[in-house]
């Protein structure tokens, strides 16, 4: 009797095991993921990239990194990418940083430029901040230019200028912010 059991029991186990996969409930993993239909449509329509990041080195040898909240290529002109909450950092060999931020920007991937618009701020690690409405940044050379009024504040006081050019450094020569078209500055000796 035991001999029979030695054969019957493993066989029974085998049968049991095989039926396990036969009757298993077909679960489809894709369907269970919590994707709202609206989100899918929105993603399809915008074909945007979220949190794009671009980093490189300018011709002057400074490191440059562009970060944006979102980026959507312009359907008619794919080399133009509309982006929001843009931040461009230029890091210099001596560790100094010039950070350009704005609400929105149009990045031209052919010409490697970014036209920033809307609350454009520039913060330099040397302790001065600039504020303007529009600025175009050459990502390749690490240069920037703004043709509208620029407000600034720094160790030498509060100032306003008609326009501004930032020329990236070149061998042995540091980057220069140059304000043109009239500069007016007020410095309070007593205060800071």
């Amino acid at each position: 009797m035991i001999a029979w059991l030695k054969i019957l029991l493993p066989l029974a186990a085998l049968v049991l095991l095989s039926t396990l996969f036969l009757f298993a409930r077909p679960s489809n993993p894709i369907a269970t993921l919590p994707f709202a239909q609206v989100e899918i449509e929105e993603k399809l329509r915008s074909q945007g990239i979220t949190e794009p990041y671009f980093a490189g080195q300018t011709t002057a040898g400074d490191l440059i990194a562009l970060r944006a909240g979102s980026a959507r290529p312009n359907p008619e002109a794919l080399h133009l990418v509309n982006s929001d909450d843009v931040s461009v950092d230029i890091t210099f060999p001596d560790g100094g940083i010039a950070r350009f931020t704005s609400k929105s920007a149009v990045v031209n991937t052919d010409r490697q430029t970014a036209d920033l618009a809307g609350d454009v701020e520039i913060n330099s690690s040397t302790g001065f901040d600039l504020h303007t409405q529009q600025l175009s940044l050459n990502l390749l050379q690490g240069r920037a230019r703004s043709d509208v009024i620029v407000h600034g504040s720094g160790p030498f006081g509060e100032f306003e200028a008609g326009s501004m050019v930032y020329s990236g450094g070149s061998e042995g020569q540091n980057g220069q912010f140059r304000f043109d078209n009239g500069v007016k500055l007020i410095y309070m000796p007593g205060s800071n």
Binding site: F92, D94, G96, A98, S124, T126, G127, F128, G154, P155, F156, G157, F159, A161, Y166, G169, N174, G175, Q176, F177, R178, F179, D180, G182, V183, K184, L185, I186, Y187, M188, P189, G190, N192
Partner: protein, 141 residues
């Protein structure tokens, strides 16, 4: 020897706001060094300084202006008096402007020239150093 005269009218105080206007300003990204150039005009109280170029010098902490170095032909006016020189160093903290190079002071028709001149904005005096010559120009004041 030192020779002192009154210069200009009493300005309010050393902490009066300083206004600077110029055609252009350039600031070095690494060092923060600032240079105003092109018809630079510095006014504080009723003192007005004009120059071709002004260099900003910070204090050690780097967050205050210690000196304004004006060059390229400097002219200072305060009240009815005016002074000119090649260069001028305005020491913002002490309120003294040290002028050097072809210094000349014009005051009610007299023209005083010297090697150097220090204009003190606190007590409105101008102190001359080096060879002082006074030229009376009758009839045109």
């Amino acid at each position: 020897q030192e020779f002192k005269v009154d210069f200009g009218v009493s300005t309010s105080d050393r902490d009066a706001p300083i206004e600077v206007s110029a055609n252009a300003l350039s600031v070095d990204q690494a060092t923060g060094k600032a240079i105003f150039d092109g018809d630079v005009e510095i006014t504080q109280g009723n003192m007005r300084l004009t120059a071709a170029l002004v260099n900003v010098v910070y204090d050690e902490a780097g967050n205050k202006i210690a000196q304004l170095l004006a060059s390229g032909g400097v002219n200072i006016e305060s009240g009815k008096d005016s002074a000119e020189a090649d260069t001028a160093e305005y020491d913002v903290e002490s309120g003294v402007i040290r002028m050097a190079g072809n210094v000349a002071l014009l005051q009610q028709g007299t023209r005083i020239t010297a090697g150097k001149m220090d204009v003190n904005l606190n007590d409105n005096t101008a102190a001359f150093h080096g060879r002082v010559r006074t030229v009376l120009q009758p009839g045109n004041n």
